[in-house]
Amino acid sequence: MIEAKEVDKFFGDHHVLINISCSFEKGKTNLIIGQSGSGKTVLMKCLVGLYEVDKGKIIYDDRNFSEMNFEQRKNLRQEIGMLFQGGALFDYMTVEENVMFPLNMFTRQTKEEKLDRANFVLARVNLENVNRLMPSELSGGMRKRVAIARAISMNPKYLFCDEPNSGLDPQTSGVIDQLIKEITDEYGITTIVNTHDMNSVLSIGDTVAFIYNGELWWKGNKDTILHTDNKELNDFVFGTELTSRLKQ
């Protein structure tokens, strides 16, 4: 389980995260939703330590991340996998080298063992015969799947996904969502997904946290989100033509 306790974050005078306390459960797909600019990406970057919190703490299974030194964080980070919005695959490496990179850096496995693991995780995300391709030769959906494969190559306990569906068509988005859900269930990972895609919310949202203007505005799940009387959340959920028509 990952917990954010009374977290505040400022950028200059701008108070981006305001006293956020929230927990993300093990073995579940925990979604953070909100409008663009609401602070959800900042919250995720605070959770993984890319931004330092100005107040409050981040706890990973009773380990206070905010108080860890560089070496302790380095060790904890080997338990974290992250899928970035654009994939963040290393341009100068092949797919196989990308997936094997964390194994090369942090394990003492033989080349054959690393290759076996890379092939296994690539097969797990339904990618075969792409080992020698460069990231520039892949489609958007394939890049995301390679990024997921790289993120799970070290058997992470925690998986972070920053807008996994951005730039993808609805069908491919569905495939990526299901993949994240399956991997979470299969390995009992604590998964946190940052999204504003309502399809994702309704299909994989075991828990859903709604961030509004830097504050935790509402918490629930995919079943309760459609029946809330929270005005701001309803504006967000039923903000598109499609969802508003469905509501009517």
């Binding site: 330590g49 890319l50 980070r77 080997q78 970035f84 972070f160």
Partner: protein
């Protein structure tokens, strides 16, 4: 303005403290070092040789046409080419050219990795990204630039000889005699020491501007420009300081 200079200098020093640490995985460091020697050094051989040969030829022609006093021997052409190429042209002017070619490459490569979140991906994995990305470039530049400068010296002197032979201005015997007049090995040491300083400036300043890039493609271009401008300015400044220190 002054505050910005102080802030940038502080940021540069802090980044260098992260860069100059023991690589996390020696084998990967050596692999990257060889790649950087290829990318930053070997791929610059052509342009260095071309410019050096033509500059040597131009220096020789200008000297030959400006010697109109019969008491000045024609061997002075070889002497002038040698002195100008070894003392100033090869270490300084070629370093300025490398600041343009190599500096922009380093800044744009690292800057692109920053804006596409590849550096964040490294950090999340627990990799010291500054050390992983910049150290091999610094070491490669400091190893390969002296080799390029020695090549430049050879090509400059060779270019001068070819021009003299082609246009019949100075005989080979006079030219070679001129090259040998009052030769001091210390001048080579002086040139190579300057080259090492300049290689350090080019790689670290460009790495710094690339690493602190934020935004998108426009900012990557700006970082690349800043890297070239500041590297060039520092090379000129340190050229004056080192010349004063080493030749007095």
């Amino acid at each position: 303005m002054n505050l910005k200079v102080i802030t940038n200098t502080g940021d540069y020093v802090l980044l260098m403290l992260r860069v100059f640490t023991k690589p996390q995985k020696g084998r990967i460091f050596w692999q990257r070092l060889l790649n950087e020697i290829q990318g930053l050094g070997i791929e610059s051989i052509g342009i260095v040789a071309f410019i050096s040969a033509f500059m040597g030829a131009v220096v020789a022609i200008q000297t030959a046409y400006n010697i109109d006093n019969p008491f000045i021997p024609l061997s002075m052409v070889g002497f002038t080419v040698r002195q100008s190429v070894i003392l100033e042209f090869s270490p300084t002017v070629i370093s300025l050219i490398l600041a343009g070619k190599v500096g922009s490459r380093i800044a744009s490569e690292i800057g692109t990795m920053r804006v596409t979140e590849q550096i964040d991906a490294l950090e999340i994995m627990g990799v010291n990204s500054a050390n992983y990305l910049i150290l091999p470039k610094v070491v490669a530049s400091m190893l390969i630039n002296p080799v390029l400068i020695v090549l430049s010296m050879w090509m400059g002197i060779l270019g001068g000889w070819l021009a003299m032979s082609a246009f019949g201005l100075v005989t080979t015997t006079d030219y070679v005699n001129g090259i040998r007049i009052d030769f001091e090995a210390y001048t080579i040491f002086y040139a190579l020491l300057k080259t090492l300083f300049f290689a350090f400036i080019i790689s670290t300043v460009s790495g710094f501007y690339g690493y602190k890039t934020s935004g998108g493609a426009l900012e990557v271009g700006q970082a690349s420009t800043k890297a070239v401008v500041f590297s060039s300015v520092l090379i000129i400044l340190f050229n004056l300081i080192l010349t004063q220190l080493l030749l007095t």
